[in-house]
């Protein structure tokens, strides 16, 4: 697969400007760039779990999508697209349509790691030919920054607030990407926004154009929930990758491939410090929180390296 940055950026957008997402929000960036990989002439049906993205991109009577789009509810983006994709196969089989369609579903981490996990798992196990993209911003942002199972340890959210007796979320985050790998689907990858988006582009294209269920987990920061300056979005993503908090890898037919290895693994403080949700970790006496966080990152990174060998 080729990556020609100039040619790609000149392509028409599938997500039109004028949607209502916040400045510095990762969700819109994820959708816009994933959909850029659609080949010319191919049609798409975009699915969407309830969340920020949905309420900001299809507010009646305006849609920001140039393709067909379906939002159903919060917990069922996987099964909804199962129905759409099955309809495509049967209508094609019966000669009622002849165009080529691709099926791409977007859900936040709440709609994917938590309430929509069963629906996604069922759709993946049944082998529907679709791509599920999780834009992981690590909390229920649409309802006002409540913790999800994707929320990192110690994050200050509105349901894991810091206080005299609390250092934020007590548990480390669920590893959904691994759970999706365990479904033995042909393609699973983790990416985020880096440099010229080469990594995200190549993985998205691979996911969309691999037959069968595929899964992309995209770290998509949220300025409101993470409390960083909107213009720092790309820097936050870079630090997530360079600290190995959010490693970039893909699993092709069960084969684990590390797609980026930092030359020098940065300490986790570098990722935590610019974010208001971790501010309490930097108070005097709380050094042990950072140590524990670093330990968890190291453990997961080493496990990943073993898998990728």
């Amino acid at each position: 697969m080729k990556f020609n940055f100039k040619e790609i950026t000149s392509r028409d957008d599938h997500l039109a400007p004028g949607h209502r997402l916040c400045a510095g929000c990762g969700a819109g960036i994820a959708v816009r760039n994933v959909l850029k990989t659609l080949h010319e002439g191919d049609h798409a049906v975009i699915g969407n779990a309830t969340g920020c993205l949905e309420v900001s991109t299809y507010m009646y009577p305006y849609t920001a999508y140039t393709d067909s789009y379906i939002h159903n509810a919060f917990e069922n983006a996987g099964s909804t697209m199962s129905g759409v994709e099955t309809a495509y196969r049967v209508l094609k089989k019966r000669g009622k349509i002849d165009d080529t369609y691709k099926f791409i579903t977007f859900g936040g981490d709440g709609g994917t790691y938590d309430i929509g996990l069963q629906s996604l798992s069922g759709a993946a196990e049944r082998g529907h030919d679709f791509t599920y993209v999780c834009y992981d911003n690590g909390a229920y942002m649409n309802t006002g920054i409540q913790r999800s199972s994707a929320t990192p340890m110690y994050a200050d959210t509105t349901t894991t607030p810091t206080g005299k007796e609390s250092n934020g979320k007590p548990q480390p985050r669920k590893d959904l990407t691994q759970i999706m790998v365990a479904h033995n689907i042909p393609y699973v990858a983790q990416t985020t926004f880096l440099g010229n988006f080469r990594d995200l582009y190549l993985k998205s294209e691979k996911a969309i154009y691999t037959e069968g269920p595929t899964f992309l987990n995209i770290m998509a920061p949220c300025p409101r929930g993470w409390r960083y300056n909107t213009e720092d979005l790309m820097e936050i993503c870079r630090l997530g990758v360079e600290t190995c908090y959010w490693p970039l890898f893909e699993v092709v037919n069960g084969h684990w491939i590390l797609t980026y290895e930092p030359k020098e693994k940065l300490p986790i403080e570098d990722f935590l410090r610019p974010q208001g949700r971790f501010r309490h970790m930097f108070k005097k006496g709380n050094e042990y929180l950072i140590e524990a966080f670093q330990k968890e990152v190291d453990k997961r990174w080493n496990e990943l390296l073993e898998k990728c060998e």
Binding site: H71, N72, S79, M81, G83, A87, K93
Partner: protein, 393 residues
């Protein structure tokens, strides 16, 4: 050629589905509707249909996938019961508000708890305000016929709403009766091809489904849905008329049985109508002027027809196969009494809850109801708005 066959209600509905050969069927097993997807899976396995069957991982996903498939332009159906449909509840609203003519075979079963697998109408009554058309079947023949009529009603351009065809768990779903199965080609011709005007997979017209709609649009969306529901009775009758002209069996919104000169009327739905016809005959033999009004279409509610059928009686007893926990009566009586009031029909009325969790309706229960009605007509009052039949108090 039509043929006579000994079939359970589930098998009869599955045969109707085979004859329709829909595009997509997502389904999840739950007693007593499980046999329907089982029979259908065999039709798929043996090449008798070329429908795509989706063995989903829950009923919630069954309805979610049905919504996706139907929105994409595929004729879609499913089957469920009880807690299965309760699990779909949120999605039932999404289906109707998106104006998707999905057909569902609902095999009525009690809701938990305690968990019980037998017939009552609490599942359907829990979905009565979801915007689905609800048609109840008395016996296996009706379950089959109603399913054959489902799509011509639901897909009618003035309607475009989902429809559930209800039959009572085990009583009709598993009991075997002699019924008429119509010729495959005749059924196919009657049901016709599905040609949606707007669908996701139309390359000439991309479509967005399921918007976020704030206060300035939401109410209009609901109002438009109510307008579609207002078209349903006329379409149900039109389809029934065409059905009768081809297959010879007559259907209305309600069925009146020995009501012409009745002083006392029973109103109910589903399989108990068959039982009640026997009891009405028995009581008639004893000289009691009793009759039955069977409500076939519960949503939308045929208020005028029900009130008209009851316009000459001294007293009416509504028999509800579901509890409403409102201390006043069951859901059917609420509809019937409102119909009587609005149509200015004045008579005595009482409500009864019967048959919960599969309990039988017995002649002795019906006799006690008739005694109550006579007491009311004699100026006495009953101790409560409603009471249970055949229960250990």
């Amino acid at each position: 050629m039509s043929r006579k066959d000994r079939l359970s209600g589930n098998e009869a509905v599955a045969i109707a589905m085979r004859q329709i050969n829909p595009d997509v069927m997502p389904a999840f097993p739950i007693t007593p509707s499980t046999e329907i997807p089982q029979y259908f899976s065999n039709f798929v396995a043996n090449g008798q249909v070329d429908t795509e069957f989706i063995p989903v991982e829950s009923e919630h996903s069954a309805m979610s996938a049905a919504i996706g498939a139907e929105a994409a332009g595929a004729r879609t159906l499913t089957a469920t019961s009880s807690c299965g449909m309760a699990f779909m509840w949120e999605e039932l609203y999404v289906a109707s508000s998106n104006r998707l003519p999905i057909a569902m075979a609902l095999v009525n079963r009690a809701l938990s708890g305690p968990i019980n697998i037998n017939a009552d109408h609490s599942d359907a009554m829990g979905a009565r305000d979801t915007g689905w058309i609800q048609i109840f079947s008395e016996n296996n023949q009706e379950a089959y016929d109603n399913f054959v009529m489902a799509y011509p009603i639901a897909e009618h351009e003035d309607v475009h709403l989902p429809i559930m065809i209800c039959q009572d768990g085990f009583i009709t779903s598993h009991a075997v009766e002699n019924i008429v199965i119509e010729d495959d080609d005749d059924v196919k011709k009657f049901v016709g091809e599905y040609e949606p005007k707007h669908f996701l997979l139309n390359a000439d017209e991309p479509l967005a489904v399921g918007p976020y709609s704030v206060t300035n649009y939401y109410m209009e969306a609901r109002r438009a849905q109510a307008e579609a529901m207002a078209h349903v009775p006329g379409v149900v009758l039109e389809v029934a008329k065409k059905f009768e002209s081809i297959f010879g069996r007559h259907y209305g919104l309600i069925e009146s049985y020995r009501m012409e000169d009745a002083d006392y009327a029973f109103v109910l739905m589903g399989s108990a109508a068959g039982t009640m016809k026997e009891y009405v005959d028995g009581l008639r033999k004893e000289g009691e002027k009793v009759g039955l009004v069977k409500v076939r279409m519960f949503r939308p509610f045929p208020a005028k027809e029900v009130a008209q059928a009851l316009s000459h009686v001294k007293a009416v007893a509504v028999l509800d196969r579901a509890e409403s926990f409102n201390n006043v009566g069951g859901p059917l009586s609420g509809e019937v009494l409102r119909a009587l009031f609005l149509q200015k029909v004045r008579c005595e009325a009482a409500d009864y809850v019967y048959g919960l969790g599969g309990r039988d309706l017995l002649m002795e229960h019906v006799r006690s109801v008739l005694e109550d009605l006579k007491k009311l007509c004699a100026g006495e009052t009953l101790p409560a708005f409603y009471r249970y039949l055949g229960v250990r108090e």
